[in-house]
Amino acid sequence: MGVKRKRFGLLQTHPSVLILTRSPLTLSIPVSKALYYISWLPPPLPNPATQFSPVLIAWQNAELFTLTYGAIVRQLLTDLEEVEEVNKQLDQMGYNIGVRLVDEFLEKSNVSSCVDFKETAEVIAKVGFKMFLGVTASVSNWDSEGTTCSLILEDNPLVDFVELPDNCQGLYYCNILSGVIRGALEMVSMKTEVTWLRDMLRGDDVFELQVKLLKQVPEEYPYKDDE
């Protein structure tokens, strides 16, 4: 990905919590996990206890994912400096991911039709989020035509340990998710607009994504008839 590793500053304010400071974001991690990542020791070998506990193994991988995402956002903020630019870039990255992710999702979940937007939203919330983030979302706030809904996420692994500092208040930290959904739906003939209504990093109680179906674009015959 080309993210350069930078040294973190360490502040130990409480015996069990290390705060990594590398402006502009701070990540606080319990000491045991921090030592694992900062000293770049080889990962612990699976011991018999974890062999029978897939939850523990998944938990270790999840941490790496969260920290990697944090590193990307931090690097984008350093490179682009403008919060709006970072939001746009995250959305574009999400779009590129979504365009590929949709095939993997379709193959694993055996979904065969994408005609009804209501059904599609339920499938994204229950199956899609579960498959890739490990959490389920709920769908609510349908409008009268059935073209706009909200996906509500109570638990979001991307934002574990994250606090937004004051100079990044316009940042949509999880904007990659809106790009992923937009990209994936475009590949199944649905043009959508995805925006954040509520964001836990800005003080709300849940994450709320509004997905609005603009139009459904069925496949057209791509070749011109006179060729």
Binding site: E104, L106, S113, C114, F132, V188, P218, E219
Partner: protein, 169 residues
């Protein structure tokens, strides 16, 4: 979480029944009509240039899909012939057979079409096509050097597909 889990390909492939080279050709198209992959194992007669051949194949399937949906006796509402369909709308055909070959077809909701032409006595290849789609996801989609919408130039994918198809009965 799924993405750092094991890299075994799932589901496991349907067991090959007979050895031998039974398949003639494989095509993979995307939703824009671009031929992502064309593999040929046994094709004695070639009458068209590859571009025309791909266009013909894609056009044939596009029209067949539309025709079969229109002729469906069990569906309540039928669009007009030629009106483009949404993924999953209408019935979906999966194979046709002539006296010299059988063509098996699978389309994913994202528009990826997989076509396998084999000898006429081949059984139902829907599971095999699903497995090839699985291979496509694992080797091509997840490959960061591949840009979606361009022809596939991944040797590992070609080899795996060749091996798998040779084992099909």
């Amino acid at each position: 979480m799924q993405f750092f889990g094991g890299t075994e390909i799932s589901p496991s492939p349907p067991a090959p029944t007979a050895s031998g080279n039974n398949a003639h050709m494989l095509y993979i198209f995307n939703r824009n009509g671009i031929c992502l992959l064309y593999r040929e194992w046994n094709r004695p007669l070639k009458t068209l240039s590859s571009q025309q051949d791909h266009k013909l194949m894609f056009g044939l399937l596009f029209s067949l899909k539309s025709l079969t949906a229109k002729m469906d006796p069990t569906s309540v509402e039928k669009g007009n012939l030629g009106v483009p369909q949404l993924p999953g709308q209408g019935c979906s055909f999966h194979s046709f057979r002539t006296n010299t070959y059988k063509l098996s077809f699978m389309e994913s909701p994202s528009g990826i079409k997989i076509i396998l032409v084999t000898h006429p006595r081949t059984g139902d290849l829907r599971d095999s096509l699903k497995y090839i789609y699985n291979l496509y996801v694992e080797y091509v989609v997840k490959n960061p050097l591949y840009s979606p919408g361009s022809p596939i130039r991944c040797e590992l994918f070609n080899k795996t597909v060749d091996q798998y198809v040779r084992g099909l009965g």
